[in-house]
Point group: C2
Chain length 357, copies 2
DNA sequence: GAATAGCACTCTGTAGTTTGGACTGCTAAG
DNA sequence: CTTAGCAGTCCAAACTACAGAGTGCTATTC
């Protein structure tokens, strides 16, 4: 058995894996470097501390652990965390009672994506004691579905556009001359027929069956096309965050400079530019630990993120941001459940065939 | 001259005012208790430090200054700041060049309240190096203006409602049985005629001229009334914040616990419940310094807030949150300008007579 | 050869002490 | 009223001493 493990130089023995797991779990709890004594008592390991120390040296040489200084305990490295989440971690599913409670909270809401997102953010933050993040779902190649033109006053028209990913957009337009509601409704009808099911590009080049657009119709088409391409430009303009205050409770962030980087990153939306595409293109949960991302801004945090949405049509991202020593098991369980829940909610609502191209 | 001041025991002599002003300005800059020596050089005061010290004792006895400990310099008290903003402060108007630049940024946006609010928050935060806050404007007694019903799919109808304060609301409804768009449009027309100009309460009790509502019409009326009363419940559900990271740069917030309180307060929306009514009911800029508010959560910060909106119809709040030693002059100048700017933008758009009841 | 007991060594964090400096308040003189 | 001078207070930074936690190594046991 043991020999088998030693054939492959990079493989860890069962005992080494056990020790690595204990180090990570203990460090996650206490945020203090873990020494051989702690390890021995934590997991009822029946070997002496000297033996454990020998193994620690090996684990350190292999890069799974680091030592802040001689004569301190060990701290997991990024490589250590990575190995942990891939091979050692106990998968935690959200307890059924909790699942039921969460579903209950959702059923008390109306059919409003915004409210769903807020609740999701709140639950994620509360459940993981970390900061949470959620973007709205956005489509890749969105088709037009329906528009309305509403006269607000003589100088102002409200354009409401519904796209096939279920998103709703509103924009104010200023007509060159006052237009009565009746005329606006005519325009809307004509446009609805002509543009139905078209993509942004097609919308832009559409012309009427005969004659040309009225000036205001041109404005509307132009605005609609812009709005659709922006939506496609794979960057939701906003996202919700909750639970930032949780991070301030962690010892590694009381130093405030690291925390400041996190806040900055959230406010600059660099998360969206850098991480979102990666999460949405993957399928399943993405775990990004410390410097595995390409930004130094994220060097001191870990992310557990999942795509969600109506598959093939509109995808968003949700997840949590926490210290590298976050409770990955719990975080993953919660993120996975929330993503599934939103998936099914969205599919119930927007998933009917009638939305298909 | 001097005697005149001394007649009233509570009035400060010109020199005392000068000294108080210097203390506050120096403390605002350096965040370090201010001693008699600093005062002498800061303002080219032509008296000895001993004289200044005598005056400091008086100012302290009157409650304008405090001493962190014997043999430290003086720090302004809440009363001191209050006197400063009311009597001593140099009013700063935003430089014209800056005003122009800001207007320019706004003109590049579309007619979209959301975008205006974001830009405002960004400008406020950047300009004052503090955190900024802005709520949407909300009405007190809102009247119905227009609605549209849009069929999303067989089981889903989108209700878009425009109210007379210019706000737009959307809600998803599930009809008991599938309804075609044509029928929905009929419903919408009928409702638009019957409900035009009504308040939430009136909407709720409206019945058709003859017969009764169709079941789905009832649903719509119900939903509309709910939505309008929520809007009136004088609590915007959301607001924007920017520049939180600025606060972390201030020495008083690196201690993180105070900062945590600020974040908590923002996320719990207690700002809305506690402060918003007070700001909106007042007219003009409100300055709240430290414990002048009723929440201990705000004890360590100051707020400079202003109402904005279409007067008598829809009001919101905007402003900044910073340390008590914030640069009040600059903050007030910026807040005032942004409020005026939004006022005029909103009035241009929503202010036409056609919106009047 | 793997596991272990024992021991010397290293490093940190904390508590106690010292010292320099920045102020103040008071007093007496201008 | 103003000011120079001075003694006294308090803090913050620097230094020292020390206990505690933990390691790595070596000699020994199984």
């Amino acid at each position: 058995m043991t020999e088998l493990n030693q054939v492959d130089n990079n493989a860890l023995s069962a005992r080494q894996r056990e020790i690595l797991k204990i180090v990570i779990e203990a460090y996650t709890e206490a945020a203090v470097p873990v020494g051989s004594n702690t390890i021995r008592h934590y997991g009822h390991l029946d070997v002496s501390t000297a033996t454990i120390r020998n193994e620690l040296v090996v684990l350190e040489e292999l890069g799974y652990l680091t030592q802040p200084h001689t004569s301190a305990g060990r701290v997991p490295s990024v490589k250590g965390y990575r190995y942990f989440v891939e091979c050692l971690m106990d998968q935690i599913e959200l307890p059924l009672a909790e699942q039921r409670m969460i579903r209950h909270q959702f059923h008390q809401l109306q059919l409003n994506l915004d409210q769903w997102m807020r609740l999701t953010a709140a639950i994620l933050a509360h459940n993981t004691q970390a900061a949470s993040v959620i973007t709205p779902p956005y489509g890749k190649l969105i088709r037009f579905r329906h528009l309305e033109l509403i006269s607000i006053n003589d100088n102002l028209v409200l354009l409401v556009a519904v796209l096939q990913d279920g998103s709703i957009h509103q924009e104010m337009l200023i007509p060159a001359e006052p237009l009565v509601q009746e005329l606006l409704s005519q325009y809307a009808n004509r446009l609805n027929v002509l543009l139905a099911g078209k993509t942004a590009g097609d919308v832009r080049v559409t012309t009427p069956d005969e004659g040309t657009w009225e000036p205001f119709e041109s404005t509307v088409v132009q605005c609609l096309a812009d709005l659709m391409s922006t939506s496609e430009a794979n960057r939701p303009t906003s996202f919700y965050t909750e639970g930032l205050e949780n991070m301030l409770l962690e010892p590694e962030f009381t130093a405030s400079e690291k925390f400041r980087q996190v806040i900055l990153m959230l406010q600059q939306h660099s998360l969206l530019e850098l991480i979102l595409p990666r999460v949405v293109d993957a399928n399943g949960i993405q775990i990004i630990i410390g410097n595995e991302s390409d930004t130094t801004q994220l060097d001191d945090v870990s992310l557990v993120l999942s795509p969600y949405g109506v598959h093939g049509r509109a995808l968003g991202m949700l997840g949590v941001i926490g210290p590298m020593r976050m409770a990955y098991g719990r975080a993953i369980g919660t993120v996975r459940y929330m993503a599934q829940l939103l998936n099914s909610l969205l599919n119930d609502v927007y998933g009917g065939e009638s939305l298909a191209p």
